[in-house]
Subunit: 241 residues, 2 copies
DNA sequence: GCAAAAGTGTTAATCTTACACCCATGC
DNA sequence: GCATGGGTGTAAGATTAACACTTTTGC
């Protein structure tokens, strides 16, 4: 950390340069619907990017922990709370924002589209299948690609995809979701074996209903993997060491 | 990205709050010496952290790409250029810096201690074995731990550890290095098989000299894996798409 | 009874781990 | 000649990949 902050503080009185960088967060909000991995976008309100969509983001407030900022953005823009969020990368090239110097930290979020649907019927917001997205405002396509890459790595090891599904789901739904994220087909028997070995799931002893074929068993994720609620500030209070 | 930047710009005239956050980079500079993974630290110059060591960092300049900042810090503080650097995580809790609100992006760097030794004989700088480090100024211990964790994951897949070694090295040296980073012992035969399968190395057809035992063969990493020179700006110029 | 998806096991191939002996050099 | 680390192969175990048939439901 800045050994030279003192120096900077002296300079601050003469020129405000060091404080002429704004910092924002951008949220890649993933959802899953109709066998597509989707991302929630908003119409860009900048002339430079007319007609393009952009990620949801906002400047970080001076009195706000960086980890709290993406929670606030999600809540303010979509009403969603209790979401899974993960920091991915910080983007700060000089020309990434046309209105000034803005460095942004990208987070991805996983939400259950159906459960949150009522909250997000703002007509400036729209769910786009990620495979349809060619270009976005700012450097948001690059941010999106970086987050998809991270998501793909992460779901192989960690029980996070359940945040994209309703509480109860069948193994078929889960496999379709993995296939949508990874962009590959998986063998059904091997997929089931691998998932069961991970020991992430609880058998609900219920079956699918109203399906035009043999119904599948329903599962939920174990409660210990459902720790998605806390903001950074809440975590610090609860788990202070 | 900030849909609300316009809003922020309006507020800027009334209160400078959004620009009262400074952003810095901190570099976890790893080296390898005497079978120890080491990190280059500087004595903290803040009263609050008297006696503690801290990472090398500096505020990002308003006219500087974020990816260039850690290169600049390394060059200014140690004279080192041509180093491997990787962004890891951005830390921004409210109280992490006693002098004000500073959000910092952590990078780790891998350097060959012997090759860079002449440049870093500044007596405020010191190489510390990471296993000896109990506490650091600011949240730098947490930053260090995060970077070590990332380094451990990364060396299993990517040919980056060679940046910590001289150009020519034996398989024994390489294995000792992996063991130092991972903190485990490895089986020699299995290690050699795995490394050779990766196909990262070129046999120099030379042998160690002046060793009090049977000399080992010397290897170097393939040239295609030695792309550590470019700054972000240079990359943009060369690889603009 | 037919369409559609659920459910299930075995085999081959690959990767990983454990392990021991002879060799080349300096002293 | 002895101490030190270099160099090498094989067998057992674990993991992964490929693959097909029967079952249950709605219509």
């Amino acid at each position: 950390m800045p050994q030279s902050l003192k120096t900077a503080e002296i300079e601050k009185s003469t020129h405000q340069d060091y404080f002429n960088i704004a910092i924002s967060v951008d949220c890649v909000i993933f959802g899953y619907e109709n066998k597509d991995l989707k991302v929630l976008l908003i119409r860009s309100d900048l002339e430079e990017f007319e007609g393009l969509w952009s990620l949801l983001g906002d400047l970080i407030r001076p009195d706000e922990d960086i980890e709290d900022a993406p929670y606030r953005v999600l809540k303010e823009r979509t009403g969603m709370t209790n979401v899974y969020l993960e920091q991915v990368y910080t983007f700060g090239s000089l020309d990434r924002h046309p209105s000034g110097r803005v460095i942004t930290t990208a987070y991805f979020s996983l939400v259950d589209i159906l459960h949150h649907q009522t909250a997000s019927n703002n007509n400036e917001l729209h769910w786009h299948p990620v495979s349809d997205i060619k270009d976005l405002a700012f450097d948001h396509k690059k941010i999106l690609d970086t987050c998809i890459e991270r998501l793909r790595e992460k779901i192989m090891e960690q029980p996070i995809v359940f945040n994209l599904l309703p509480d109860k789901f069948s193994l078929r739904q889960l496999q379709d979701l993995y296939e949508a994220i990874l962009g590959v087909e998986l063998d059904r028997r091997n997929f089931r074996k691998r998932i069961m070995l991970k020991n992430w799931l609880v058998d609900m002893n219920e079956m699918e209903e109203d399906v035009p074929h043999r119904p599948g068993k329903l599962y939920k994720v174990k409660n210990i993997y459902k720790n998605k609620t806390l903001t950074a500030t809440a975590k610090e209070i609860l788990f202070a060491d």
